[in-house]
């Protein structure tokens, strides 16, 4: 029966926040009964890690909506959802987001208590366990970049990691990428965030795909998104906190990339470039959603094995060449590196 009527959308739970709120997600994909042998390739799209970046949440929702609406209409999307699951998590930080609605619109972190009574909250994007101790970020609980007193102290980061690990160990899932949406500054950032001195093994492919994402955005809306390493992202490096490794350790994309092998992980900083910053007017919601939807279609096309060749998916003859072949050889190369 399930094979005859596959459902393409399911609401799932990633876990709970510090204050006990659910972290819901929408899982899109066609369950196929013949996939018990091979792991199910899965893409994750997150938003709302930083509470004040509202456009990231609306964009996750909009892209999810667009995928659902175009399933069965656009060949590439239909094929993508047959070969991949895509998990949309609009609000990784529900406590912080609620706080922005109720108290302080410019709150960034979670609402978890710290060792200092008057400074709450952890920066979720500095709380993951990969290269956390190499972090150049603050160990001051009052800092906006505070990632906790140890890795995984942030409840929401741990919930995401636990869920992801459970998926790989017990549900035959293989994560191929994390698209972590933030704002602002209009950039496509590739790993690693924790350092500029170590390149990911597939840096050339990562950068090439990032350029493709940026171009897809430009073709969609005219907006220009620059491409650079996440190590040059938006952390201000106070001299007090600089270690021998400069940038921001403990990021979500680094952890997904390195620990789960999700080798197409990006952080995308959405609109704008400073006119409103985090306080982006609501008129940007749809245009931003549209341009990132186009970027996600480009990504899907790439993952389906079309190597970024610029032809409309509808014009191309369907091919069964997925990213498996290239991915497999990349993984072998990665393993040799280790």
């Amino acid at each position: 029966m399930e094979a005859m009527f596959p459902s393409i959308a399911r609401v799932i739970s990633i876990g709970s926040s510090y204050e006990g709120k659910d972290i819901p997600a929408l899982k899109l994909g066609i369950s196929r009964s013949d996939e018990t042998v091979h792991a199910r390739k899965t893409l994750v799209v997150t938003g709302g890690l930083h509470a004040r970046e509202w456009i990231s949440t609306t964009t996750v929702n909009y892209v999810a909506w667009s995928f659902v609406s175009n399933y069965g209409r656009e060949r590439m999307i239909t094929k993508l959802l047959e070969h991949f699951d895509v998990i949309f998590i609009p609000v990784m930080n529900p406590d912080g987001v609620e706080y922005t609605w109720q108290v302080d619109r410019l709150w960034r972190k979670s609402r978890q208590h710290t060792s200092m009574r008057f400074c709450r909250g952890l920066d979720l994007d500095h709380a993951f366990g990969f290269e956390w101790d190499k972090s150049g970020v603050s160990h001051d609980p009052c800092s906006e970049n505070y990632g906790g007193s140890e890795p995984w102290e942030a409840v929401e980061a741990l919930a995401l990691a636990d869920w992801a690990r459970n998926q790989t160990r017990n549900h035959n899932v293989r994560f191929v990428g994390l698209i972590d949406l933030h704002s602002y500054s209009q950039q496509v950032l590739f790993p690693f965030a924790y350092t500029c001195h170590v390149d990911p093994p597939n840096r050339e492919n990562l950068e090439e795909l990032a350029v493709g994402l940026s171009k897809a955005i430009r073709l969609s809306s005219g907006e220009s998104y620059s491409v650079t390493s996440a190590c040059r992202g938006a952390a201000l490096r106070s001299p007090r906190h600089i270690s021998h490794v400069e940038a921001g350790g403990g990021s979500a994309i680094d952890w997904f990339f390195h620990e789960l092998g999700a080798h197409f992980s990006y952080q995308i900083k959405l609109r704008d470039t400073g006119s409103y910053g985090f306080l982006l007017p609501k008129e940007h919601i749809i245009p931003t959603g549209e341009e990132i939807f186009h970027a996600m279609k480009y990504l899907g096309d790439y993952l389906l094995g079309n190597n970024g060749i610029e032809r409309a998916a509808e014009d191309r003859e369907p091919t069964d060449a997925t990213r498996d072949t290239d991915h497999g050889s990349e993984l072998r190369r990665v393993k040799r590196h280790r």
Partner: protein, 218 residues
């Protein structure tokens, strides 16, 4: 196919609703961030009463949420007289100086790249902040957002679910009155809400080196 799509849409709506509108959990702990200094008595009592009623009887019907939606907006007072400045940085030492000074004054750094640093601060602290910076940075800044309170207000919904306009709160009306003297002020609050149409193409704005908040006002 259609049934599947409808089911998926229902799932998405259920997923999206908590993050779009006002949320059901009343905030009780304001200890770490004090915001309003002198809340009026009756709105506060109303809010407490509604929270208790909701807790016991569940959420009220949607049409009553519009009347209460104002009460869930955060106070704008913390943002009164705040601006966001962009400093153009050209050397790592400039970036360090900015970082140290922002740390010292506990300022909110919005963004930091190799080329610029955006910092939110009160107008009356600008001169003391500039005083901490090296000479080369003191003129290397411009105002990105001249009125943070207005920008904050602008991000909240102005229409409720039933399509009625949410009336402007008294506090907002007081804080967002037009300014008459500031030469940098090109933010015409009297045209609110910003129900503008097209978004201007960005390239010429960047070429001119201006990225004022009037980008989206046509």
């Amino acid at each position: 196919m259609r049934i599947r799509r409808v089911t998926a849409l229902v799932c998405l709506a259920a997923l999206a609703s908590p993050v779009v509108g006002s949320l059901p959990h009343p905030i009780r702990d304001h200890a770490s961030q004090s915001t309003s200094s002198s809340p009026r008595l009756f709105p506060l009592l109303t809010w407490i009463r509604d929270g208790a009623v909701e807790f016991i009887f569940g959420r009220p019907a949607k049409k009553t949420e519009a009347a209460d939606s104002r009460l869930h907006l955060p106070s704008l007072k913390p943002y009164a007289d705040e601006v966001v400045l962009r400093f153009n940085v050209t050397t790592p030492s400039q970036e360090e100086a900015l970082a140290e000074s922002a740390d010292r004054l506990f300022l909110d750094v919005w963004a930091a790249t190799d080329e610029f640093v955006d910092i939110r601060l009160r107008k009356d602290r600008i001169s003391s902040f500039l005083g901490l910076l090296p000479e080369s940075l003191r003129d290397a800044h411009r105002t990105l957002i001249p009125d943070v309170a207005a920008a904050v207000y602008g991000t909240f919904p102005s229409w409720d679910d039933a399509g009625r306009q949410i009336p402007i709160s008294e506090e907002a009306a007081t804080l967002l009155r037009p300014m008459t003297d500031d030469g940098d002020n090109v933010f015409f609050r009297d045209y609110r809400p910003l129900s503008v149409g097209t978004i201007r193409s960005r390239p010429e704005k960047r070429t001119l080196g201006t990225e004022c908040c009037t980008d989206s006002i046509t």
